[in-house]
Assembly symmetry: C2
Homo-oligomer: 370 residues x 2
Amino acid sequence: MKNLLALLVLIMGFSLSPCLAQTTVKDDFKPSTLNQPGQEYPQVNSQGYARFRIMAPEAKSVVVSLGPGGTRGGTPLTKNEDGSWTGTTSGPLEEGFHYYRLTVDGGTFNDPGTLNFYGSTRWESGIEIPAHDQDFYALKNVPHGRVQQILFPSPSTNTSRRAFVYTPPEYDKDQSKRYPVLYLQHGWGEDETAWSNQGHANLIMDNLIAAGKIKPFLIVMTYGMTNDVRMGGLKNFDIKPFQTVLLDELIPYVDQNFRTLADQPHRAMAGLSMGGMETKTITLARPDVFSHYGLLSGGVYSPEEIKDKSKVKLIFLSCGSFERPEGVVNSAAALKEAGINAVSYVSENTRHEFQTWRRSLYELAQLLFK
Amino acid sequence: MKNLLALLVLIMGFSLSPCLAQTTVKDDFKPSTLNQPGQEYPQVNSQGYARFRIMAPEAKSVVVSLGPGGTRGGTPLTKNEDGSWTGTTSGPLEEGFHYYRLTVDGGTFNDPGTLNFYGSTRWESGIEIPAHDQDFYALKNVPHGRVQQILFPSPSTNTSRRAFVYTPPEYDKDQSKRYPVLYLQHGWGEDETAWSNQGHANLIMDNLIAAGKIKPFLIVMTYGMTNDVRMGGLKNFDIKPFQTVLLDELIPYVDQNFRTLADQPHRAMAGLSMGGMETKTITLARPDVFSHYGLLSGGVYSPEEIKDKSKVKLIFLSCGSFERPEGVVNSAAALKEAGINAVSYVSENTRHEFQTWRRSLYELAQLLFK
């Protein structure tokens, strides 16, 4: 036991040492790419440190809810003579997108320097740590598809509901061609804007299509928290209201109003986190509707849950390496063993955040509708 | 002179009396329709008073930059025992949409209760005072068009630029039909999201089309502050960069990628405030491109400025009754006198705000492409 403890200390010591050794914060800070037009702060340096600056001359305290390790911890800011509050994270942040918020004198506010993104059931501040692989979701000089806001009738919820439909660059060129469709869900506390705003789903598709890596398909994104689990959390989640909206209202609308291949073999469903839970529940309940399933940091399937293997063309399971990657790896192996086309993907050095899901979509898109 | 002064006092006394007499603030406050999901505040009552509630237990002062008379004045909030700050405007606000912001201990923040809208070169809080005529921009159970986000190549600015294209409900039904196009500009400090988010341009069109009041056309909205007049204001405004983007890049892209009637008789340009200034400058410089012109709280044309009357099918001039309506009324009369089809419209009891421009679009749309 003592030896084991010593070994653990040794291992932890080694694994921490690259962090501890990094005492110099490089002075190459630049405005985050998600800042509002003309705003200098927040800034990010080449190591992934974030620096904040908030004007609040009469405030007693300003704390940023963002520190190393995703959104855990926080960064208290220090007041300067000019009335501004500044501070730098105590360590580098992981690559990709992070939500955050300010606590100013005990109240929750957004950083006026950044754009807002819907997460945690509110519009939050966002910051982008440049990633080594950011090219795959960059805005490039390639043909661009469209993100089309539709308002579809929803008798079950007695309103017109919003969805976004990604159509590929070629969509309006050949009026006779029809396309497969991926229904792609956001996570808890997010909404139908997340996959475009935080996820850059449209740019990921544009770049994959331009590189000839995939055949074009449509992506449909709508709000998945139909039964309002905002306040109660997931414990009271009931899939039925959303399943009704998706299967009985949205899919028929999309099939009527877009040039889709309107059958099970050409229809996929995927979702991140809570959207993965929804995907699993709905795909298992209605194997006649979808043929390709994707759970992104959103659970796994066991072979016994798949009633009719012949109906499943692909199961894609992913998560970040800082989540619990054994789960998706082992599940995919078991599914494969059972004769199902299952693929696992682990995003290196990311956790339950959008960089994991951007990468997951990039991988998933290349496996769909083959 | 003494008599005149007495008369003035008398007139002002009478005209103010309805306000002064209204001492009772009705207790029928409801959450503003622009609140974030699940947020109870800000609230609005049936008289148009707005009530705010901000949590900031340790703050010294919280002021809302919104008071009677549009965005002029402000509403200081008072601290309660539970750490919240509350307050009600000193009088009713005008009908429609208003931007606002908070000053918390000297810093500028948004109200965490509301959605944000891009205005004043930043994402600001917004509140909606229900209007007696709100039906024309309400979300109704009618066929809905789409708001399509496009990214078009812009060699002159060396990037892909964003625009939104409203397509009417029938657009995807008949693949042989082609449509006229209105290019519609936002005001200073706003961007290409304003006409949909603040203006409900898409819902105005959906409702007009459903009521059979107009023949469908497309609306294209893009960013008009291409040369970055954010900080310098309008004094350094140069139309050329935007004119190049609009005429040499966006219009050709739209004509190639949407089923437009790609000629001068079927192309209109209109804009609000600074967008009106842009509209005037560009339509006068290039009468070969647009046939229908609209200035919404954005200036006037004089007959001498129109070089070739035969090229102008409509000039529409509008503003709020609390702006200077004589300007647009007189200008339209002079243009008519000179043989030009000019129409003026004055929005009752509104000022330089979006309710004026929603109504103006509603009027303008019914005059276009006849």
